[in-house]
Point group: C2
Chain length 321, copies 2
């Protein structure tokens, strides 16, 4: 079993390369810092890599200063652990320089994971990679402390939308309870990673709320970050991806979409579904991917034409219900 094998490797190795996906979210950074933290506390050497950019709401997590975006990959590692990446390219440009980092260990929870590792621990039933890392820590009897517990909590909380989404397993709850026993203060973490508002972010939300539209007999909801407001980098920094939850929570909506203009006539669509549509499959029609309930793609064209094309493809997924 992959988990046992990985536990053996991290117990017995000395030098590890750890990385998670570029454009990181709370699970990518929380899991990276938690696994890095427990290995450091065990006296191991680790390099924690993330291509970035690290969004504002994750930039003050404990240990974040250890995360590098450049690395001398030739230095010998006993293993490379790649976290929360559906495919190896998700770690960024460094992916093509990892051929000597062996074994390459792939720890992920994306259903469509390409199984790029020498060892693949892919559990699509897990709420988050943080949940898998917690299991690894327990199995390998690695140490926990408050900082590690906080970073695991960040991973679990952000990937479950604070224990709301349908990936919220019983195990996610019981782990969260144990992390609170380690001293984690849910409100302190939540304010930082879920809900810290700046007046600027509130202003963007106010503008975005004006754009909400529902289509397809109320089953598709769009919210658009107004084109003149901000670049995608800014909205990433400001954690605006979560605005997709507003159309998602309109009664009757099955597919919710956040649309951001990346450059002129080039749009990023972030998709969420509520009950039955597999948005990873829908996104794959546009060259994107993700989870059944959360996926994304980018597409060239005018905003109107891209929306129309999306609605016509979405139609096929909404039929028969």
């Amino acid at each position: 079993m992959a988990l046992n094998e990985i536990a053996h490797i991290v117990k017995n190795g000395e030098r590890f390369f750890l990385a998670s996906h570029k454009d990181p979210d709370g699970d990518a950074i929380g899991s990276l810092l938690a696994l890095g933290g427990t290995l450091l506390l065990s006296g191991k050497q680790v390099v924690l890599f993330n291509e970035g950019p690290i969004p504002d709401h994750l930039s003050s997590l404990a240990g974040i200063e250890r995360v590098v975006d450049a690395v001398d990959i030739e230095m010998g590692f006993d293993a490379g652990l790649i976290l929360d990446c559906g495919n190896l390219e998700r770690v960024g440009a460094v992916s093509c320089r990892l051929s000597k980092t062996r074994p390459l260990i792939n720890i992920d929870h994306h259903e469509n994971n390409s199984r790029f590792g020498d060892i693949n621990l892919v559990d699509a039933q897990s709420s988050s990679v943080g949940e898998i890392i917690y299991r690894l820590i327990k199995l390998a009897n690695l140490p926990l402390d408050l900082t590690i517990a906080e970073n695991l909590f960040v991973a679990l909380q952000t990937d479950t939308g604070s224990f709301k989404y349908d990936n919220t397993t019983s195990e996610a709850f019981s782990i969260a309870g144990e992390l609170v026993d380690w001293g984690v203060n849910p409100w302190k973490i939540s304010r930082k990673v879920m809900d810290e508002w700046t007046l600027k972010r509130l202003h963007i939300l106010e503008s975005a709320l004006k754009t909400i539209e529902v289509h397809s007999a109320g089953r598709v909801g769009f919210i658009t970050i107004p084109q003149d407001t901000l670049s995608k980098a800014d909205t990433d920094n400001l954690n605006c991806e979560r605005f997709v939850d507003y159309p998602r929570c309109i009664s009757g909506v099955e597919i919710a979409v956040l649309i951001r203009e990346i450059k002129k006539d080039y749009y990023r669509f972030s998709l969420r579904s509520n009950d039955w549509v597999n948005v990873a499959e829908l996104a794959s029609l546009f060259g994107g991917g993700g989870h059944p309930r959360a996926a994304a793609f980018s597409k060239e064209g005018s905003l109107d034409s891209v929306k129309q094309e999306f609605l016509s493809k979405a139609k096929g997924f909404l039929q028969g219900r």
Copy 2:
């Protein structure tokens, strides 16, 4: 110990009067339905009373049709169980007709509870009354089913802001995990009770966001439901109380306030604090009350004068930090 005594009474009695506070929230209704449900499943007779009004987001919970807002209190009950009420008046007008309903059992988690019961189980450390009801069910070995589990989940989730607020105990998490094992689907419940948006509610939010102001060197944040938008009853129905979380989550804010006009020159202030201010004490200066982190009061005057008076009292609570 009160919990043992109550367990004994509910196991051995046959007819119970259950009530929770008027203007109910998710804990008031979820706990009422859960305790009512487990007693019914045990073959007992129950009257479930709530003066109402039941807000929209709670109006489709399983068993809600059993909740009455009028009752023949003279019919003999083996006990009256009053849930989530800091004082007996919170149940509404029926409170003055409960003198023959004995023993009167007070189950609550408000610190300033007036201990009005013959038996008082007041645990301010509990996240919610739902958490206490779960403990009672376990101790008394009362039955659970999916419906009861869902209603307990509603109580826990709503009173903790979906496991974010600082009342989120380790026990709240572990109970939530067990409820998921009973078949509760967190996303199904969350969409209903936490986040169901209508276009109308989104429109009110958009208008309210325009009113956000920060005062007292950024430590007090106000959000106001525009006076021409809606009556308090409408905003209650639409669960707009939760909009207080927007100013609350502005970086630096300690006291957040949602202001609603109830009638001309008469305002309802809903208060939240983040770290150290006891807003129950602050609200008590205006004749209100609540929890240290969540309280409310109503006040006559022009909007400007009421805000100024509030800010001047709040100042004393903010000093020394």
